[in-house]
């Protein structure tokens, strides 16, 4: 395990090779006894276009009867959404039994595989979220089996059940304008063209970390906003299950949120069990899983 201190944010990172080790690492970082509040971000999924209906559908294998769709999701993210949802519910039960106030957070990637041709992407997204009055059935069933309900899911200010990524990106862009004016973020012109700009954060090590480039908010920006929203909702502990390929931007977003928004007492643990097509726990842990902790 390595450990560093950037500015006022303490960071540590370790690798684990089994679900048991992952649970032990989480228990070390977020000990159930005395943990007052916790949000667990699990079950994160992407939206895919269902070719039969032309609508957006959750990229969760368990939700898809169609073999073609199951194959697409398996190849892209594997069992990550359902696996992390079930693990989150298990943890929720354990923490709740120890007296902690625990909520689940469902982050939905509503932009990456949303078609840009045909109907406008914004219309497809709006239609999906308007119809999301209940969790996907497999998610609902897992909750019910654990003796829980949708009440355990933390609402966002955009949706009662979910945190849409485009909403977070939009929120961050608005916040960034204000933060640039306040001098807490820096807007810089790029060598590539006089109209190309980026908004960057100067971290405690003196490095510029890009959050918005040429008007496009990266994953780090949206995660920054998500952490801020969780803090605003009164929670001081956050466990994030993120796909492996997103680990670095998620870590950056968390690091920046803790520094930029001044969130004293906030502790965030990130784990990346799969998300790149792994179809079994053996595959997930065979690749080793990273567990990172950030404390302010």
């Amino acid at each position: 395990m390595n450990h560093t201190l950037t500015g006022q944010v303490a960071k540590s990172r370790r690798l684990v090779a089994s679900e048991q080790e992952l649970r032990q690492a989480i228990a070390r970082e977020l000990p159930a006894a005395g943990l007052g509040d916790l949000v667990v971000m699990g079950g994160h999924f992407m939206l895919f276009e269902d070719p039969s209906s032309g609508r957006l559908t959750p990229g969760v294998i368990e939700e898809q009867p169609d073999e073609t769709m199951r194959g697409r999701i398996a190849g892209r993210v594997g069992i990550f959404p359902g696996y992390t949802w079930r693990m989150s519910i298990g943890l929720l039960g354990e923490y709740a039994a120890a007296g902690a106030d625990v909520r689940l957070l469902l982050l939905i990637n509503d932009w990456q595989y949303v078609p840009t041709g045909g109907r406008p992407a914004s219309e497809l997204r709006a239609e999906f979220f308007a119809g999301l009055s209940a969790l996907p059935p497999s998610y609902e069933e897992a909750l019910r089996e654990a003796g829980l309900s949708q009440e355990s899911v933390l609402p966002s200010r955009k949706h009662p059940l979910a945190f849409p990524e485009t909403w977070l990106k939009y929120r961050f862009q608005k916040a960034a304008d204000r933060l640039v004016k306040e001098g807490r973020l820096e807007k810089r012109y790029l060598d590539s063209g006089p109209r190309d700009t980026e908004v960057a954060f100067l971290d405690g090590d003196g490095n510029y970390r890009t959050l918005i480039s040429c008007g496009v908010t990266g994953c780090a920006g949206e995660i920054t906003e998500m952490v801020s929203e969780v803090y605003r909702a009164g929670h001081r502990n956050l466990l994030i299950f993120a796909p492996g390929e997103c680990l670095m931007p998620v870590e950056t977003g968390v690091d920046i949120a803790l520094s930029l928004y001044d969130l004293p007492g906030m502790r965030v643990v990130i784990a990346d069990p799969g998300g790149s097509g792994e179809m079994s726990a053996e595959e997930i842990y065979g690749n080793l899983v990273t567990v990172s902790t950030f404390r302010r």
Partner: protein, 388 residues
């Protein structure tokens, strides 16, 4: 599970002969090379022999070799050290925008100190634009630096021509040869480089050791960046005999294998490109193959985000054209600097070929990569910068 390793620019497996050479210096021959007794003298003799091997690989004299912890330290000593001596404004330095961060970050640090750190212009091939450099060098230029072989696209810089331009204005030329050693012939005197850094683990040596060549005529123009017992005037610290011996052996092997490995890697490259081109519609090669070493193959796989591909490959090790260290999975600064569009850069992967791999393993590895790329391309409907 066997992993087909195609990431030799990141590091290489330590050669068995290197391990064998190192082991006695971890066991019975553990003396400190600075000690005056027999164990110390034997260690010193081994260090001297290693310096001779390093020097033979680059065409230098053994006394011009300073052992370091790697090319990063060598780059720092050369680039910071040259500004540590007689630092009077105006002074400036030229940095190559596609170089390793151990050079670029020094440029940024110098700029933060108020020094004029300039960025050399590169052509779409990745080679430094010599006309532009010649026009912008001036008598206040303290140093120009470039990686002889670029680690992402394999482009070979015109070092001798750059040295000529530098000499004309009295500037030093520092060359990062971490990716060049063992891949192209290096005759440092003929090339005219003033300082040159090497790293052992890129040539089947151990991690944690490297070397810096310093042309003796310019030695007085460098100041150390770290002070201590004075084991070497430019680099204090106890010499890690076993690592240095490992580096010496790795250099000896690299020199002996250079020509044969070049020929074999060219054939390996053709095999890899053949499999890639047959399996990935619209495949493009980044950079200019005619100006590059055959060991590095950087390709655009249209519609397939490199980060997704690399993280989902179970038994093949390659790297991406994305630079996650900025935190937002931005396109590689190397690829964008040579004019590759951001979307293509995000869909790029780098394959580094090692002469030791079999044709069968290479073909299998690239086929697995193609298979995975096709699966990912099948779910892509738009430009996909990142999953969040």
């Amino acid at each position: 599970m066997k992993v087909i390793y195609l990431d030799g620019c990141a590091t290489t497996r330590v050669d068995d002969e290197v391990v064998d050479a190192m082991l006695p210096f971890l066991r019975e021959e553990f003396g400190n090379p600075s000690s005056p007794h027999m164990l110390g003298k034997r260690a010193r003799r081994a260090v001297d022999e290693a310096a001779a091997s390093v020097a033979r690989l680059i065409g230098a004299d053994p006394e011009d070799v300073v052992f370091t912890s790697g090319a990063t330290e060598g780059n720092n000593i050369a680039l910071l050290g040259v500004f540590g001596h007689d630092e009077r404004a105006p002074v400036n330095g030229f940095f190559c925008p596609i170089d390793h961060k151990s050079s670029l970050a020094v440029g940024q640090a110098l700029a933060a100190r108020g020094l004029d750190a300039r960025t050399a212009r590169v052509r779409p091939s990745g080679q430094v634009d010599l006309d532009d450099l010649a026009a912008r060098l001036d008598p206040y230029t303290r140093v120009v630096t470039a990686a002889w072989v670029n680690s992402e696209i394999g482009v070979v810089q015109p070092v001798a021509a750059m040295a000529g331009l530098c000499a004309a204005v009295g500037s030093l030329l520092h060359v990062d040869a971490a990716q060049a050693a063992g891949r192209i012939p290096i005759r440092v005197r003929e090339a005219g480089a003033d300082t040159l850094s090497l790293s052992a683990h890129k040539i089947h040596g151990p991690k944690g050791v490297g070397a810096l060549y310093v042309r003796p005529e310019i030695r007085h123009r460098l100041r150390p960046v770290m002070y201590g017992g004075g084991q070497h005037a430019l680099r204090s610290g106890t010499i890690p005999t076993h690592l240095v011996v490992g580096m010496g052996k790795a250099c000896e092997l690299a020199a002996a294998r250079l020509d044969a490995e070049w020929r074999r890697v060219r054939e390996l490259r053709a095999t890899a490109l053949g499999v890639l081109a047959a399996g990935v519609p619209g495949l493009r090669v980044n950079g200019d193959p005619d100006a590059s070493v055959p060991h590095v193959l950087n390709v655009v796989l249209p519609g397939v985000r490199g980060e997704s591909l690399v993280s989902s490959l179970r038994t093949v090790a390659v790297s991406t054209g994305s630079a996650c260290n900025s935190g937002s999975q931005e396109p590689s600064y190397v690829l964008t600097a040579i004019g590759v569009p951001a979307e293509d850069a995000n869909c790029s992967v780098r394959i580094c070929l090692d002469a030791g791999i079999s044709f069968a393993d290479l073909a299998l590895g690239v086929e697995l990569l193609v298979e995975r790329a096709r699966a990912l391309a099948g779910v892509t409907t738009a430009a996909t910068p990142a999953q969040g």
